[in-house]
């Protein structure tokens, strides 16, 4: 993300970058159709599909009845027929009625048919908290999907990736669950639209990206917290700590090559996510990195995550959500610097 500003680069919100990426994908392939609740005239509750029904018609941007299992199931049927449906789930908390269709059908169909039926479905899910919403509007369900064989799972953190990764997800012949950090939709960033399916720095959809180099500790995150981690890295550098920040981007499969290289260098790993800790991605990554790099690790991998609670009401959400201070505390723990657990076995 450090490349020079190219002539085709412009400042764009995250939301607009997704919209541009969807438009580009629809132009590229007439089999790409969008399906979801309120995505037509309204352009979706977050306006991600703004203007697309007007330009591509109601057969390409399809307002569906209010039934997520129905949306997912009919999208599968469209895929059988040769379409590439892009499904919008209105909020993270409303993906569960479609869970059966996703884990028992979308994920298994290619395997079930010995590769004869492809399901090039993209399931877009605005996820995460921090926008003061009511219950069910701030969830981080990514671990459920990352545990489901047959799915690929991605999470984007910035407008440029939003623009290119949504196109890569749609072009992929496997089903992709695509997480968009809703609290970053209004963030602006440079987007180079001269690249279509390729990212400006050539990274494929399965690759993690080193967002900031460092040598003391590796800090891994994805989606909404990447920005927070970058801020934390700046704050840490003020204290003389050099943090390498990695944006996971692909949550399944995880790009362990990139993570391993970093941890071999730093010997210390911190993982941050909003989802509850138990059974979250942090544990999986910690375990896998421990397996792969045990003798390089100078400290147990540290997790900075949401608690094992239902997402709390909005007045309390910033207690639940890892913020800059909590991430820095995790960094301190990994480094054996004074931290909130100092004096306990875990904080040394």
């Amino acid at each position: 993300m450090t490349e020079q500003t190219a002539p085709n680069t412009s400042q764009m919100t995250f939301a607009k970058a997704l919209n541009a990426g969807l438009r580009r994908a629809m132009e590229r392939d007439s089999k790409v159709v969008l399906m979801g609740e309120d995505i037509g005239k309204l352009g979706g509750v977050f306006r991600i599909t703004d203007g697309l029904q007007k330009d591509f018609g109601a057969h390409r941007v399809i307002d569906t009845p209010l039934a997520e299992s129905g949306i997912m199931g009919t999208a599968i049927g469209m895929a059988y027929r040769g379409y590439r449906p892009v499904v919008e789930i209105q909020f993270d908390g409303f993906v569960y009625p479609a869970f059966d269709q996703i884990v028992a059908q979308v994920a298994k169909l290619h395997f079930r048919t010995l590769g004869r039926v492809k399901v090039p479905l993209t399931i877009r899910i605005p996820f995460g908290g921090g926008i003061g919403s009511p219950e069910h509007h701030s969830e981080s369900p990514e671990a459920y999907f990352a545990h489901t064989a047959g799915l690929r799972v991605m999470a984007v953190s910035n407008p440029q990736d939003a623009y290119s990764m949504i196109q890569q997800a749609i072009a992929c012949d496997d089903p992709v669950v695509f997480f968009e950090p809703k609290r970053r939709y209004h963030d602006k960033g440079d987007v180079d639209e001269s690249f279509g399916l390729d990212a400006p720095d050539g990274l494929g959809m399965g690759s993690a990206r080193v967002m900031a180099e460092g040598h003391d500790v590796t800090l891994v995150s994805y989606g909404p917290l990447v920005k927070t981690c970058l801020d934390a890295a700046v704050a840490a550098s003020d204290e003389g700590v050099s943090v390498e920040v990695i944006d996971l981007r692909s949550l399944a499969p995880v790009d362990y090559a990139t993570l391993e290289a970093s941890v071999r260098k730093t010997g210390r790993l911190v993982i941050a996510h909003e989802a509850s800790q138990s059974g979250g991605l942090g544990g999986e990554i910690a375990a896998s990195i421990t397996e792969r790099c045990f003798y390089y690790l100078e400290h147990a991998p540290v997790r900075v995550t949401g608690f094992d609670v239902p997402y709390p009401y909005s007045k309390l959400e910033f207690h639940h959500l890892p913020d800059l201070d909590r991430i820095l505390d995790g960094v301190d723990r990994a480094l054996g610097r004074p931290n909130s657990l100092s004096g306990t076995e875990e904080g040394e």
């Binding site: 609740e37 309120d38 037509g40 005239k41 309204l42 352009g43 509750v45 307002d63 569906t64 009845p65 209010l66 039934a67 299992s69 129905g70 908390g93 409303f94 569960y96 009625p97 003061g132 919403s133 009511p134 219950e135 069910h136 509007h137 704050a235 204290e239 800790q277 138990s278 608690f307 094992d308 609670v309 239902p310 709390p312 009401y313 909005s314 007045k315 309390l316 959400e317 207690h319 639940h320 201070d325 909590r326 820095l328 505390d329 931290n339 909130s340 657990l341």
Partner: protein
């Protein structure tokens, strides 16, 4: 060859038009079947009851307006206006007995008001101070449900429990036109019919599910759905408080007398935005709103009351004063509502002890006190 084999059918006016007992101009239509549920609003004795319906509707509308205003002023995070749906909500809720149990969606704030819920508890969740307001067992009313249609199954299960208990309680569940497309709402009809559970399905067809017109969910009247499951239904004018009251009373009577579930479609209109976060001008015609304003549920009842000489200036003034008072109280209570405590993040996740969560809570407390110390020292 076309045969009606079911004793279950949809009751409606000609061509499926909704049953109307009060027309928009305030005229009272007699109705062979439903009038018997309105004996107590007839004659002089009915005056007080009618005026109290009017009062509830007016005050409910004020609660709603206040909610919107509080949201605009940043006192609430979100608000789902029910303006236009006062007849459907007040009319049905007034039919429900105190020990009947209600499973609402998120928009039934008018129902909760009728139920007697304390004012701050009407807005608590919209302020983000909790995920719910009132005690479900105090008001025999479940918390509002955000996941579309999920609660209709809870209503049926509760009704099954009532039945197993041999109790005379009935259950009412509220949901929208959009909700009728959800698997859960259909499964709830399967279960209700299978066990003949004492439950009333009350669908407020307010014509819209956010930006989607009801025609996207169904090309036929919503109330036609139920008979195919073996549940009798009725289509009523949802802006007619008497029709809503009568139909709900009939359905509750059926439930209590062991005759199983019923389905009511109240045809109404969402006069406001979906929520305060919504901008309906993006998807709906201004004329539509104008048309529906002519069918306003409160104006209609006013005309009827006037025609019966029940709405003089004094009554108007008294009701307006009550609305003002409730509005002011709601505002005060909202603005001064104390914030939840940080440790509430960990409260009530489980009824019993949970070592992993308690450890997280302890770590967070430790973290916070450290942070407090660090802040005192000016550290990061």
């Amino acid at each position: 060859m076309r045969t009606e084999v079911s004793t279950y059918h949809m009751t409606a006016g000609d061509d499926g038009s909704p049953i109307q007992l009060l027309s928009p101009d305030g005229a009272r239509h007699r109705h062979e079947r439903y009038d018997r549920y309105l004996a107590d609003v007839e004659g002089d004795d009915g005056a007080q009851l009618l005026v109290s319906l009017y009062e509830d509707m007016v005050v409910a509308r004020r609660v709603d307006a206040e909610g919107t205003a509080l949201q605009r002023q940043g006192q609430l995070g979100l608000w789902p206006p029910f303006v236009g749906q006062e007849a459907a909500q007040v009319g049905s809720a007034r039919a429900v007995a105190a020990d009947d149990f209600i499973f609402p969606s998120y928009r039934e704030i008018g129902v909760a008001y009728v139920r007697g819920v304390a004012l701050p508890d009407l807005v608590r969740q919209w302020r983000g101070n909790a995920h719910s307001g009132w005690d479900p067992y105090e008001f025999n009313m479940a918390p509002s449900q955000v996941v579309i249609g999920a609660h209709t199954l809870h209503a049926v299960g509760y009704a099954m429990g009532v039945q197993f208990d041999g109790a005379e309680t009935a259950v009412v569940t509220y949901f929208g036109d959009g909700a009728t497309s959800q698997g859960d709402v259909n499964e709830s009809m399967v279960f209700a019919a299978s066990y003949q559970a004492p439950v009333v399905f009350f669908c407020q067809n307010n014509q819209w599910a956010i930006s989607e017109p009801v025609g996207l969910q169904a090309h036929v009247p919503i109330a036609l759905r139920a008979p195919g499951f073996g549940i009798p239904s009725v289509r009523v004018d949802g802006n007619d408080v008497l029709a809503c009251l009568a139909a709900t009373r009939e359905a509750l009577e059926r439930a209590r007398s062991g005759n199983g579930p019923s389905y009511i479609e109240a045809v109404t209109y969402r006069m406001g935005p979906h929520t305060t976060a919504d901008d309906p001008t993006r998807y709906r015609d201004a004329n539509e709103l104008e048309d529906w304003k002519e069918r306003d549920p409160i104006a209609r009842l006013e005309r009827y009351l006037e025609s019966r000489g029940l709405l003089d200036d004094e009554v108007r003034a008294r009701v307006a004063a009550k609305a003002d008072k409730v509005g002011a109280e709601l505002r005060e209570a909202t603005i001064h509502m104390p914030d939840p405590a940080p440790e509430d993040v960990f409260a009530h996740v489980y009824a019993g002890p949970h070592a992993v969560l308690e450890r997280q809570r302890d770590h967070y407390e430790r973290y916070q006190s450290g942070l407090a110390g660090a802040h005192a020292e000016g550290g990061h």
